[in-house]
């Protein structure tokens, strides 16, 4: 019952965020330079007449005051209509959805990689704490955090694809294609996760239940992995969930370097082409995904904790 209430609370608190996302996306459209109607008409080298522009403005409802426009826009967005791309003249929603799987695949690979690497490095650092594994991992994560993704991506392509020929440079088509982009995208996140995990694990290890567990004569690895980790994982899960926002954004660079046709490179093309409806759609979509994932992470980390999952029910 408390869980239901918690969920309800969460959902309610998401409302303003959703409002904010739609507002942000809408505002972008308002702020964008140029008259949308004229821009929409004049693509492809035609010169619209003033009447044509006015007519389209009426059609698009651009003559209404902003709040009304906003409501209409949200209404259309709710029914899946994000407008028409200036460049390709296709529905933005359709184009975004067509490209979304690539970005999601990239994000999924990246998160998985960040998760695996973060868990491994974090646990290894704690198990070997104060000795060389710890120092090595600290140094490695420090380096990872200081490497700009675009530089890393370039160097990775140069080394693994162009010189060694082990992995494909670009495009989609299976795990091999995703490896380099995912490594590029997840490197910093993995390092952050490893460091966070290390510090939360150390925090957990200082708690009485870990001393008590150690007194059962178990190995340090078991102490860390089986006892401390389940409790230390919650903030790390939250971090990884939140990092998805960063990954969606970071995918702009990674997709452009690795020629992945996802929504990130779509946004970049939209910017180059002053395709504001597409950009609006991009902001809306990434915002919604982000909110969804945040909610998911909240729920999952709630479920990770039996105290919340089972409530205060006593035996």
């Amino acid at each position: 019952m408390t869980m239901g209430r918690y969920l309800l609370h969460k959902l309610l608190s998401l409302l303003p965020v959703l409002l904010g996302i739609t507002l942000a996306a809408f505002t972008l459209g308002v702020l964008s330079p140029g008259d949308p109607a004229e821009l929409a008409l004049s693509q492809g080298g035609y010169e619209p007449t003033a009447e044509q522009v006015a007519e389209l403005e009426r059609q698009l409802g651009l003559d209404a005051p902003y709040p009304v426009q906003y409501l209409r826009w949200v209404g259309r967005a709710l029914s899946g209509d994000l407008g028409t791309s200036y460049r390709s003249r296709r529905p933005v929603a359709e184009e975004l959805l067509r490209r979304l799987p690539v970005t999601l695949e990239l994000a999924a690979w990246s998160i998985t990689l960040a998760c695996a690497l973060g868990l491994f490095l974090g646990c290894a650092a704690v198990i070997g704490r104060g000795r060389w594994p710890d120092l090595l991992i600290q140094a490695l994560t420090g380096l990872q955090l200081s490497f700009p993704a675009f530089w890393l991506g370039l160097l990775l392509i140069l080394l693994f694809a162009e010189t060694l020929g082990w992995l494909p440079t670009s495009g989609t088509g299976g795990a091999g294609h995703m490896l380099l982009p995912a490594v590029t995208l997840s490197s910093a996140t993995a390092a952050t996760a490893a460091r966070l995990l290390r510090s939360t694990l150390l925090g957990e290890l200082g708690k009485p239940y870990c001393t008590a567990a150690a007194a059962r004569g178990i190995t340090p690895a078991r102490l860390v992995v089986r006892n401390a980790l389940p409790n230390a994982a919650v903030p790390v899960a939250a971090l990884l969930g939140n990092s998805l926002g960063g990954m969606l954004g970071g995918s702009v660079i990674v997709e452009s370097i690795f020629a992945l046709p996802g929504i990130g490179s779509y946004a970049l093309e939209a910017i180059g082409g002053r395709d504001y409806p597409a950009l609006q759609g991009y902001v809306l979509l990434t915002g919604l995904i982000y909110v969804g994932v945040t909610l998911l992470v909240d729920v999952v980390s709630m479920l990770l904790d039996p105290r919340v999952r089972l409530g205060g029910k006593h035996l």
């Binding site: 140029g34 693509q43 694809a161 162009e162 020929g165 440079t169 299976g174 020629a259 180059g272």
Partner: protein
């Protein structure tokens, strides 16, 4: 199903990474190429895909010197008064979906064009542009169609070349003229699969009326970034690059020492130039335009940035046409400074310099030019834009300098002169060049009424001289079409318009 792709499913092993070359190459193995954009933008595009994929064919195409030659139309004749054209269609031609190519199919395609302008990422599909003054089109018999014009149309063939007379199976578009799926043409290749922004998969059309394509399947990938495209080529993921801007010169020269790769070049019909906003200060003053032209060191651009793939010019006309007049390039910094000084005095001006951000070399070029212009008192604010957006901006005239390019697909110089130099020329207006010369107007008048070739040439020569003097635009260099491919392929040869894809095959 009318899509031929569905009857021949894509090979199971669609891994785009080819195996190491064995001693014997499977001639049917997939060939992977790449370009920077969607060569088959799909249903929403008026043409579905570019001509260079050899999927659809036009009635009329062009040869190496850009003269119109038969394709789906075997022959034609023009009536005495020039208002009626009769086209005799090739027999025994099948569409990919099994339908027959005949007069009905052609009429259906004209009906489709008649529905209205269809936009395209290549050229707009606009019946008024391709067939000005067309009043009627009719089927004469099963293999003959006739076009009737309200005015004499002696140059109509030029208008119909390639994109002007694309023919599709009537079964593949709906009443609104939109494609219902993959388009079906008559070309040597049919599209087996089209994944936007990823690749288009071509398959040999076995029932092609002409010489069949050499390769069984060709996959053309989309790799927008030139550097990534190069990496893919280098690592063997793709075997060649096609389309415009296939490979930047700087990267092409990286391949010259490597026997695994080869370059193919041909004179391009493209000329690269700067447009200067002639409707506002400072470039409404001829002296400023001349100063800019004199301050440029074009050979440093072509030799340095483009590694010799390009020829400096101050002539607006492209060197691929037979009418080209070689005018010596004049560059003189001192004179440029003097001219600019006359206009500006001690002031410096800041102007916006628009360039295409998608083309890797243009930024360096812009910075280089900006640093030269700095010496004559012009500071540049560099702004990367897409061409489409740049054109919008040019129309307003609210810019200083823009780096543009112009192709001349039909080799007829008047096209260029008319657009850029006539007082009412469309580029003159749309790029806000503000160019006006009564002499040019008169010369053009004279040339168009002249039947004598020599008179024409005279006029054209004079106009070229004027263009180099008065600089409606400031030409930079004549371009070279440059493509790179792996030596594991044969038949890879640059042509005026792309490569001849049906000739590409594995080297044995």
């Amino acid at each position: 199903g009318n899509a031929p792709g569905s009857s021949t499913p894509a090979p199971e092993n669609s891994s785009p990474v080819p195996q190491e070359p064995a001693d014997t190459v499977d001639p049917n193995a997939e060939i992977v190429l790449a370009g920077y954009r969607n060569l088959a933008p799909g249903e929403k595009d008026g043409y579905y895909c570019s001509k260079i994929l050899y999927v659809w064919e036009p009635l009329v195409t062009q040869d190496g010197s850009a003269a119109p030659v038969p394709c789906l139309a075997e022959s034609w004749e023009m009536s005495e008064d020039g208002t009626r054209w009769t086209f005799h269609l090739r027999r025994g031609v099948k569409f990919h979906d099994g339908g027959d190519f005949n007069a009905d199919a052609v009429i259906a395609n004209f009906d489709r064009m008649k529905l209205g302008v269809k936009s395209s990422s290549f050229y707009p599909l606009d019946i008024d542009a391709h067939y000005p003054n067309l009043t009627a089109y009719e089927k004469v018999d099963e293999n003959t169609v006739r076009l009737t014009f309200s005015q004499p149309a002696p140059t109509q063939l030029y208008n119909m070349v390639n994109f002007g007379s694309a023919i599709y199976s009537p079964a593949c578009f709906d009443e609104a003229g939109d494609f219902k799926g993959i388009c079906a043409g008559t070309g040597p290749f049919c599209i087996a699969e089209n994944k936007l922004d990823e690749y288009v998969l071509l398959e040999r059309f076995e029932e092609y009326w002409g010489e069949p394509a050499k390769a069984k399947t060709i996959r053309v990938r989309v790799i927008p970034d030139a550097d990534t495209r190069f990496s893919a080529l280098k690592s063997g993921e793709i075997l060649g690059v096609i389309d415009l801007n296939a490979i930047p010169a700087a990267l092409a020269v990286e391949l010259t020492g490597d026997e695994r790769f080869a370059l193919t070049t041909t004179k391009s019909t493209m000329i690269r130039f700067l447009t200067l906003s002639g409707t506002q200060a400072p470039f409404n003053d001829l002296r400023m335009r001349q100063a800019v032209s004199l301050a440029l060191r074009r050979s440093e651009i072509t030799d340095g940035l483009y590694y010799g793939f390009g020829t400096p010019t101050t002539n607006i006309l492209n060197y691929a046409t037979p009418f080209y007049k070689d005018i010596p390039v004049e560059e003189d910094l001192a004179k440029a400074k003097a001219l600019a000084g006359e206009v500006l005095g001690d002031r410096r001006v800041t102007v916006t310099y628009l360039y295409n951000g998608a083309e890797a070399a243009q930024k360096g070029e812009a910075e280089l030019i900006a640093s030269w212009l700095g010496e004559i008192g012009i500071d540049c604010r560099l702004t990367p834009l897409e061409y489409a957006v740049m054109r919008e901006q040019l129309k307003t005239g609210d810019y200083g300098i823009a780096r543009m390019q112009q192709g001349l697909s039909n080799s007829e110089p008047s096209t260029i002169f008319r657009r850029f130099m006539l007082t009412g020329g469309d580029h003159n207006k749309n790029y806000s060049l503000g160019y006006r010369s009564d002499e040019v107007d008169a010369l053009m008048e004279r040339a168009s009424s002249a039947l004598d070739m020599e008179v024409r040439r005279e006029c054209y020569d004079r106009i070229q001289e004027i263009s180099a003097q008065e600089l409606p635009v400031v030409p930079l260099f004549n371009d070279v079409t440059l493509m790179a491919y792996s030596t594991r392929l044969t038949g890879y040869e640059a042509k005026l318009y792309g490569i001849e894809l049906p000739l590409v095959a594995w080297a044995q």
